[in-house]
Amino acid sequence: MGIAFKAAADTAGSTETLLAANGLSKSFKMGEATVQVLKHVDLSIKRGEFIAIEGRSGSGKSTLLHLLGALDEAESGVISYGGKDLASLPSRERCKIRNEEFGFVFQFYHLLPELNVLENTLLAAMVKFSWVDFRSNKPQLQTRAMEVLDSLSMGHRLTHRPSQLSGGERQRVAIARALMNQPKVLFADEPTGNLDAETGVQIMGVLEKLHRQGQTIAMVTHDRTVAKQADRILVLREGKMMPADA
């Protein structure tokens, strides 16, 4: 088993569609009532593209991101990733894609409180490799994790626990964890939503830098200023995708 540490993406400017959704619908039961959150949503993301899905709270943007990231299943519609229909893949295969090809950054960071910064960053690698493979490649994996943390200015806090970090630092660690396995798509769900303005700008700087390096990013936000930093803005309103200026 070997681990390649190539750049996150080397196909910047590609016109190839990496991820596409056609006719996605999703509803939730709220007591007796059924709320239709997504109504026949279509979208596509090209390799190396940075898209922002903008919408108000409750507009279904996080739900859309979860469906695109194979965290949840749509009631109807197709999500194709690399030419494969995600819904038709076995559960184990979807888990593998989530682990090796997708990375997630959440609004509330979602770090494991028992693990320190380095261990949280290594979590995706721990899931990817068996105990034996992880042990035999531990020096390389740790080096990779430290490189990622260094690039996010978190190299000095390796042994700190999430409770000992600020919000911005936690989000950097969450980004580092998402980048650990060199994902093809980075999903960011309101990455600045829980941060002060200054820290939010720093985090967006990090995402922009990643994008410049060729990382495909799909971000949802309610903040137009944040969304403007993406290549393309899609607006989700009442469960439907609208043009950005609508």
């Binding site: 965290l71 559960s91 888990c95 090796e100 979602h110 721990m126 042990r135 964890r177």
Partner: protein, 494 residues
């Protein structure tokens, strides 16, 4: 890798899980201690009964005995599996020891040279075995003393008196100046340690032995021949003995109330010796034939062969014992007293183990509750690990592994705790007695003066395995719940 990492982290950081760990430790230790003490108690009983009774006995109900035992013994000894046989008498008597201890006792008549080849009786004797063994083991013992101790152990056990005839006559004369009997004619008697008040001290030494070998005993027995309907003065037989040794079989009912005398002497006193009455030769009788088998031979297989010999001898002499009076051949474990006693102890062990096993079920429920709480508390973590690619089975494995780890650590520590407690249980018991006046183990109740202090490896392996399995079972439902959790719902969980 993430599973092991999270299991170890949860084990170290989630202190609530330590409650399950403590529950597993306590339950494991408790059941091992109970089974070790009770199982050790039963094992001791079996060994001691076997050691006293021999492998097989031929006996009948009542005190009148049976004839032609010599012939039976001769024929039984011809069986290739039989090592030796010995006639044994057993009756009740009254003792007066040195005018200080009047008591009712069980009297056993032993052909001591024969019985030594069959039972462990020799090892129960203080002067003829225990003391000599101590001297041989003691590095401070001089070589001549060691040689002397070895020669005592090497020669056959006996009722022979250890002192000169003059000494016995002199002791008797001092006590009874006007007596005309020759005190050296008194045969030797071995007394149960408890009969003369000898007590084992916590340090292993004995209290109350001083001077007992200079003490005389007056033993009164009553003969009860076949068809005896009432006891008269003529049935009474009184005889003087000198104490030559004391016996500690470790079976309380033997040590506390039994004296051992030469077979031929007791046989005569009970009127069971060969004698001519009204011109008719009456053969000698005995209460029991004790039989020892050679090592490796099956008791159950030998019993029917011996029964056949016994029946043949009785038939040859036209003697018939039937119904309640039948002459029975039994394996040691089937002998009256032994069988009922061992069965009662076995039932008690099953009952106590069952009761404590039920208590241990509480531990499984506790683990289940705590794990359920942990799964609820860790819902968000489950969402996170699923978001980074963990499978449902992988998530289930975290909690199953967590349960397994608690079982292994708890079971291991429980075993260690049980080992420490059981190994030192007599010291702990003694200290509890010293500090708080608590005495849980009474030799009168449990027959042995020390609490069994050995762990049974098989029992330990079964109990620790049960602890591990129980912990795993306690974690199954929470693990299934965690595995089924939708990652998005888990991440949104507050």
């Amino acid at each position: 890798m993430y599973k092991l990492t999270l299991i170890l982290k949860y084990l170290r950081k989630r202190r609530i899980a330590w409650i399950s760990l403590i529950a597993v430790i306590l339950c494991t230790a408790m059941v091992i201690i109970i089974l070790s003490v009770m199982g050790g108690w039963l094992k001791s009983f079996r060994e001691q009964f076997h050691g006293i009774v021999g492998d097989i006995e031929v006996s009948r109900l009542g005190l009148s005995g049976f004839p032609h035992y010599q012939e039976m013994m001769n024929e039984i000894e011809k069986l290739p599996e039989v090592k030796a046989t010995a006639p044994t008498l057993q009756t009740f008597g009254l003792v007066n020891i040195f005018n200080q201890i009047p008591d009712g006792v069980q009297v056993i008549g032993y052909d001591i040279e024969r019985i030594e080849k069959i039972t462990e009786f020799r090892k129960s004797l203080f002067e003829q075995y225990e003391l000599q063994s101590q001297r041989l083991k003691d590095p401070k013992t001089s070589q001549p003393m060691k040689d002397a101790a070895k020669s005592v152990i090497d020669r056959a056990a006996s009722f022979a008196k250890p002192f000169s005839p003059e000494l016995y006559r002199s002791i008797w004369k001092d006590a009874f100046p006007r007596s005309t009997v020759d005190a050296n004619d008194f045969p030797g008697i071995i007394v149960g340690a408890g009969v003369v008040g000898i007590e084992r001290q916590p340090d292993g030494s004995f209290k109350g032995r001083d001077g007992i070998q200079y003490a005389w005993v007056r033993l009164t027995v009553l003969s009860m021949g076949e068809g005896t309907t009432r006891i008269s003065e003529q049935n009474k037989s009184e005889r003087m003995y000198w104490i030559i040794d004391d016996s500690r079989t470790k079976l309380w009912q033997y040590d506390q109330s039994t004296v051992y005398v030469p077979f031929d002497v007791l046989q005569k006193d009970l009127g069971m010796d060969e004698r001519t009455e009204d011109g008719v030769l009456k053969p000698g009788t005995t209460h029991r034939i004790t039989i020892g088998l050679k090592p490796g031979h099956d008791v159950a297989a030998a019993v029917p062969k011996i029964q056949q010999i016994v029946n043949d001898v009785l038939k040859r002499h036209d003697v018939e014992f039937s119904g309640r009076n039948a002459l029975n051949v039994r394996g040691w474990y089937d002998t009256p007293g032994t069988k009922d006693f061992l069965a009662a102890v076995e039932k008690e062990i099953v009952l106590v183990t069952f009761l404590f096993g039920m208590v241990s079920v509480v531990a499984i429920f506790l683990i289940f509750c705590i794990f359920f709480m942990i799964v609820v508390e860790k819902t968000k973590d489950i969402g996170i690990v699923k978001a980074v690619g963990a499978t449902s089975w992988g998530v289930a494995q975290i909690f199953l592994g967590y349960g397994l780890a608690i079982g292994i650590v708890g079971g291991g520590l429980g075993l260690l705790a049980a080992y420490v407690i059981v190994s030192n249980i007599n010291t702990i018991h003694m200290k509890l007695g010293d500090w708080m006046g608590i005495s849980m183990w009474d030799a009168k109740t449990y027959a042995f003066d020390t609490i069994p202090d050995k762990l049974n490896p098989t029992h330990c392996a079964i109990i620790v395995s049960a602890a591990v399995l129980s912990s795993l079972i306690g974690a199954v439902i929470p693990a299934i719940r965690a595995a089924r959790m939708n990652p998005v719902e888990a991440l949104r969980w507050e």
